[in-house]
């Protein structure tokens, strides 16, 4: 590998709470879901979180093909029309970046500096992957199904196409899809046009965008994004546990109005319906608790229906904002018994940080809004 990269690369640990210029370059490209978008059960396109490792490829849909091969009986090449001609399903799926919350860790692993809102829920339309693999015919020696994107770049010193794999049992789950549409529209470039993978329940790194090929291997897949990145490890000894499904998390849409720069929230003392959403890739969200004193005391909130079996669940809670300063917190529990922690167990990559959300709110008698220009206010 003759290529040199900057000395402060992904994986470096940063002690300062301030963000390096390298992290800023990622933050201005990628974006999380503004918390007020929790009002929408289906996240509008453009508000859904995005993480793009390299560049967004420009793809000609007329010549694009998905190659399926490796240890299969009948290699396939599918055009976009082929994929649209197969049985179609639409499923609402919540996707969250495995690195969500990374920028709240100390020291902070240098990578995309997410706060708490690298998430979104979309209605994805496409065809189930299982029948496609069945048509190709997995070899008896099939060990992994590798998904390769058209996006190319250097990471960890390795020039690579973005690639991730799934064990056959996961790839064959009925909800795993090859999708070509989001919220009823063709995929926009940034979401993987023309076709991407959706693996409901898993963190975002599994949902390979701009699919180029699917390869069945008879040995473990050792690609960078699979074998090195996306592991939960606390030191350089050993590979750590691979990141797979989303841990539970609840988020609230913060009440009141924000200060532009600090994002501190202001409310008038009154009663508010706090709304939010909660999800888990490990089970159903069974309970969400709310605190207005930084997590010392908790109240169970009212849960709404899940948007789909693979999407977040709405919740609401009536909160009486007494004058003063408050720290609002929210905490999800899932049917597998997982509960969000108060603070995160640190790890080298800053993955799976599902510590509870904390929102600072100041409740004071509200001054009138600066008189707007329209003296004829209705």
């Amino acid at each position: 590998m003759s290529r040199t990269v900057d000395s402060r690369t992904a994986g470096t640990l940063i002690s300062s709470p301030d963000i390096t210029p390298e992290e800023l370059q990622l933050a201005v490209r990628n974006h999380s879901m503004p918390l007020e978008a929790l009002h929408y059960p289906i996240t509008p396109v453009g508000l859904h979180y995005l993480l793009i490792h390299f560049d967004i490829p420009v793809v000609d849909a007329d010549t694009w093909e998905l190659a399926i091969g490796g240890h299969v009986e009948r290699p396939l090449r599918l055009s976009l029309d082929d994929i649209k001609s197969r049985p179609q399903v639409t499923i609402a799926v919540t996707l969250e970046c495995a690195g969500n919350g990374r920028a709240r860790l100390t020291p902070r692993p240098m990578s995309q500096p997410w706060l708490s809102e690298a998430v979104g829920t979309a209605e994805w339309t496409g065809t189930p992957l299982g029948p496609v693999l069945a048509e190709a015919g997995l070899s008896e020696r099939a060990r992994e199904v590798v998904f390769t994107g058209l996006d190319r770049g250097v990471q960890g010193g390795i020039d690579q196409l973005y690639e991730r794999s799934l064990p056959p049992a996961e790839a064959l789950r009925p909800e795993v899809m090859l999708v070509h549409a989001i919220n009823g529209q063709p995929l926009p470039p940034q979401h993987g046009f023309p076709v991407r993978l959706i693996v409901p329940g898993w963190y975002g790194m599994a949902h390979v965008k701009w699919l180029r090929s699917i390869t069945v291997t008879d040995s473990p897949f050792e690609g960078y994004q699979q074998a090195r990145a996306y592991h939960n490890r606390v030191d350089d000894q050993g590979a750590g546990e691979p990141v797979t499904r989303m841990l539970p998390r609840a988020l609230m849409a913060p009440p009141g109005v924000p200060d532009f720069m600090s994002r501190t929230r202001f409310v008038s003392p009154a009663t508010y319906h706090i709304e939010g959403r909660a999800w888990s890739g490990l089970g159903t969200v069974t309970r969400v608790d709310f605190s207005d004193d930084g997590g010392r005391t908790w109240s169970e909130v009212e849960l709404g229906a899940a948007v789909s079996p693979f999407a977040w669940r709405g919740w609401r809670h009536q909160w009486n904002a007494k004058p003063g300063e408050h720290e609002l917190c929210v905490r999800a529990t899932d049917s597998a018994g997982n509960v969000q922690p108060d603070a995160q167990a640190w790890n080298m990559e800053g993955v799976q940080n599902n510590a509870i959300q904390r929102v600072r709110v100041i409740a004071n008698p509200v001054d009138e809004v600066q008189a707007p220009a329209d003296e004829f206010r209705s």
Copy 2:
């Protein structure tokens, strides 16, 4: 104003190149246009830059109305259907944030920390504003036309609805529009649903989103975003010059592939067609120059047609990447004689920074891409 905000607020100057946690909060919400999106003459929704001062309002289009009043003869209230029933136009318009480039200044004014790509071009559909104002009938005493949004928050210590004004002569220009659609779709929440203002040629702060009212005043408008923010001033003495139209800028889509963290570009030594776009709110872009030696020597590039009279112009240039490290630069000149500077003249708010783009590229004999999993590569 009884509200307290964090001590490090907008306007603070930061000497460190590192980004504060407060700036990061804005960077993860708002996003610029990834430079590879320069390949598209019309920016796909979701890739267009976004700056949202406060929260995105949730608006019910069925009950929404736009009130037009103040110093007019016939106050109006327009529903969304009323606006759609009026004569419709579609214009491609390039929008750029006035703070584009802010994070490259030293010291850095604390606000949204843009690098160089807070821009986008969309096809906006709506009705011209002039006939609406004519129907309302501007008073002879009309001095300003004030546009008030539904977005509310605290900035500069002032609780406010977002408001900006235009002189009547600007508001009555034929290209100024009340728009309800972007790229043929209803405005998504983040772009100002249901109706926003478009003021072709002006920086983004003029294009008020989530319009609530238009008020004609007989005195200068003193709102925060008009009288205090968006001024080019080098010290605290005097208000400075108000920011209006976009200075010229050219951007290139960087060639080759990026390193994930440093965004350094790698290419094989070969000849490349470098592509990009250039725009100015002060005239037509008449010339774009390219340099591969950090701006020591320049070559004029080939200009394409403008996408519209109010949108950017494509350009391309053949570049022979010799082995070694290069700093690629690009520089626009407009018909009013404005030329992008090599370095920015500093100002307190970090506005109008149109210094030339610089892209670091390493041209080395390329190693093969890490063998992808598909041994059957076509």
